[in-house]
């Protein structure tokens, strides 16, 4: 019998201690332990948080510089990343070369990889494609395969990774915990790199919803129907509550409107949105496409618990969102139309 040594992490496994967002902040100062640290984090989730928006962006432009500037403007301390493992969690839900507006553009992924590499981190790209079991096909159709090969970037197929069980820290859904792939648990930092799109069930998909794609298909299926049955808004919140070490860099250059996240139409925005708090980033993304964040169920759940969503609690870096916002076409369904931001000048009670 040949050696078929098993490396699967048992459910009792706990994630290894890793860098948290606080440690990445400039001026984080001396480490504060225990309850004091928890209180500091809790306060941070409710206090003003910077989000960076850059306009006039193109995939063939200097987007590496934009991403670097954006993360620095939001307070990322690059010195903390030297020697650390960074996982770029991209969106390759159902790639097809006929719809490049569905998935994270390879140029964005390469640019972000270079940013973190230059800061001394080791970088891997990861995804658990939600609708495609043939991962190589997903990489080819998205245009990412040659980019990975040319840049010698490791790709981690999160659909088929060994898993570790982590307690559900959010508890908005009935799920007791999640099976996260080893690469996600061992990363010191996960960078959510979604495509900004409308979503026909929950309104908008950006960095928080993108984390559905961390969960392995071998445990959750294609699609990840376990999560659907447990409630999409609830599980979006729960997954992000259970994965604390995340930041966001959003591909909002060529977006998707209408029947997103798969069959929608292209919408050119020319934006990159970045921040150290994915909830605040997504609240800004919702405003950019004409939705009221507090009406998006998973943002409402996240508000004040994972980060701020109120306009006055998000510190704008770079462009002001009002000046670059452009309402997206939303399916003509009441539950989606109710998510729209009130038109300027309309009184609401």
């Amino acid at each position: 019998m040949q050696d078929i040594g098993v490396k699967v992490c048992e459910p009792a496994c706990k994630p290894q201690p890793a860098l948290d967002r606080r440690a990445l902040l400039v001026g984080g100062g001396t480490a504060v332990a225990g309850a004091l640290a928890y209180g500091w984090m809790k306060a941070r989730r409710q206090t003003p948080t910077p989000v960076f928006v850059a306009k006039g962006q193109r995939y063939d432009g200097p987007i590496e510089q934009t991403i670097r500037d954006g993360l620095l403007a939001c307070g990322l301390d690059p010195q903390r990343l030297a020697g650390r493992r960074v996982l770029l969690k991209v969106n390759l839900v159902e790639p097809t070369r006929t719809a490049p507006h569905m998935t994270t553009h390879p140029a964005m992924i390469l640019a972000a990889a270079e940013v973190f590499r230059r800061w001394g981190a080791s970088v891997a790209v990861g995804e658990a494609s939600g609708h495609v079991r043939d991962t190589e096909m997903a990489l080819v159709e998205s245009g990412l395969a040659p980019v990975l090969d040319d840049a010698r970037l490791e790709f981690v197929d999160l659909n088929y990774e060994d898993v570790a069980w982590v307690k559900n820290a959010g508890r908005a859904s009935k799920l007791a915990g999640f099976f996260f792939p080893r690469a996600a648990m061992e990363a010191d930092l996960i960078v959510s790199m979604p495509k900004l799109k409308t979503h026909h069930w929950v309104g908008v998909t950006a960095s928080l919803k993108n984390m559905y794609g961390v969960l392995p298909g071998v445990k959750y299926g294609w699609p990840k129907n376990v999560l659907h049955h447990a409630g999409i808004p609830q599980t979006v919140f729960d997954i992000n509550a259970s994965l604390p070490k995340t930041i966001a860099v959003v591909d909002a250059i060529l977006c998707m409107e209408g029947d997103g996240p798969i069959m929608g139409s292209p919408k050119r925005m020319g934006l990159i949105v970045a921040g150290l708090n994915p909830t605040a980033v997504d609240a800004t993304c919702a405003r950019l496409i004409g939705l009221e964040p507090a009406r998006v169920n998973y943002l409402e759940l996240s508000a004040g618990r994972l980060g701020p969503i109120a306009d006055n609690a998000v510190i704008q870096r770079g462009e002001r969102w009002r000046e670059v916002a452009s309402p997206f076409v939303i399916l003509d369904r009441p539950e989606l139309q109710r998510l729209r931001s009130p038109a300027p000048g309309v009184l609401t009670s």
């Binding site: 019998m1 699967v8 079991r133 043939d134 190589e136 071998v218 299926g221 129907n225 659907h228 798969i262």
Partner: protein, 293 residues
């Protein structure tokens, strides 16, 4: 050395996993066992079939990996591997296969009343990826093939699975993970599930013409550049309906020579299975009697 022999030698020695150097997993293990057995490497297949028994639970199901007894979607594949294996322990594996088939008959996907937003018939029951969820395409295919292989092709659950699979084929041919349209919007077909569905539907009658259009979709889409998994399942699906592109062997060989991410036992086993053409153990040409069970 013929490229298939090269693959078989690798399957006989490597850990059956989804990526080169990865951990043992039930699906690549079952596929490797089938490939080795069908190519006459009985002793190697027997060792893998034995390893597969270590992933079986008392209820007959087979989990995704050691220490991961749920979900049980690989059970159908394990039943196929055990059913086709020969050698001295045939009787013991048959027993495992029977228990797996019994587990399949005792479980199934969650059905629901027809929904105007979903294009497919949500009342049909196949098999889910994870317990307590809806029926999807590939687990239903694995379940159906297992029932056919164990002589249960006429069982009501098998017949319902056939109806489900045809219902999930797109009107213009092909299928994806298992949705046809959502909120009135037709979805796109994918190669791998289309091929697998055709394999499971070999010998089945289809008045809708969707099977024929799925064959046409695969014939016009597969080519030398197609990635290993999609190429293998696509060719297996075509072989199930007595079709084979003239360059199929050359495409398979080209795929077998790719390195990197495609050089994993999972993809290699699929290529070896596709090389068997109509003799692939995922194909059942025997006509089904369609008698009520």
């Amino acid at each position: 050395m013929h490229w298939v022999d090269d693959i078989l030698n690798g399957l006989a020695t490597a850990t059956p996993s989804y990526r080169a150097g990865g951990s043992l997993a039930a699906e690549p293990l079952a596929l490797a066992a089938m490939a080795l057995g069908a190519h006459g490497r009985t002793a190697d297949a027997a060792r893998l079939c034995q390893a597969l028994t270590s992933l079986a639970s008392a209820d007959g199901s087979v989990g995704i990996a050691a220490g991961q007894p749920t979900p049980g979607w690989p059970t159908g594949l394990a039943v196929l591997a055990w059913s086709g294996a020969g050698g001295a322990q045939t009787a013991a594996w048959r027993e495992h296969a029977e228990r797996g088939a019994a587990w399949l008959l005792a479980t199934g996907g969650k059905s629901s009343p027809r929904s105007p937003g979903m294009g497919h018939d949500t009342t049909l029951r196949g098999w889910p990826w994870a317990e307590g969820t809806h029926s999807w395409l590939e687990p239903t295919i694995f379940g159906l093939l297992a029932l056919k292989r164990t002589g249960r092709g006429d069982h009501a659950r098998a017949r319902e699975a056939v109806r489900l699979l045809i219902d999930r084929l797109l009107p213009d041919g092909g299928c994806n993970y298992g949705n046809t349209s959502v909120l009135g919007q037709l979805l796109r077909p994918h190669l791998a599930p289309s091929g697998l569905a055709l394999a499971a539907l070999a010998g089945e009658r289809d008045e809708s013409g969707r099977i024929e259009r799925t064959i046409a979709y695969l014939e016009r889409t597969l080519d030398r550049q197609t990635t290993s998994m999609s190429l293998a399942y696509g060719l297996i699906g075509l072989a199930a309906h007595d079709r084979s592109p003239p360059a199929a062997d050359a495409w398979l060989q080209a795929a077998s020579e790719r390195g990197g991410r495609e050089a994993a036992p999972f993809q290699r086993a699929l290529l070896a299975l596709a090389a068997l053409k109509a003799e692939c153990p995922l194909i059942f040409h025997k006509p089904i009697s369609h008698q009520p069970s």
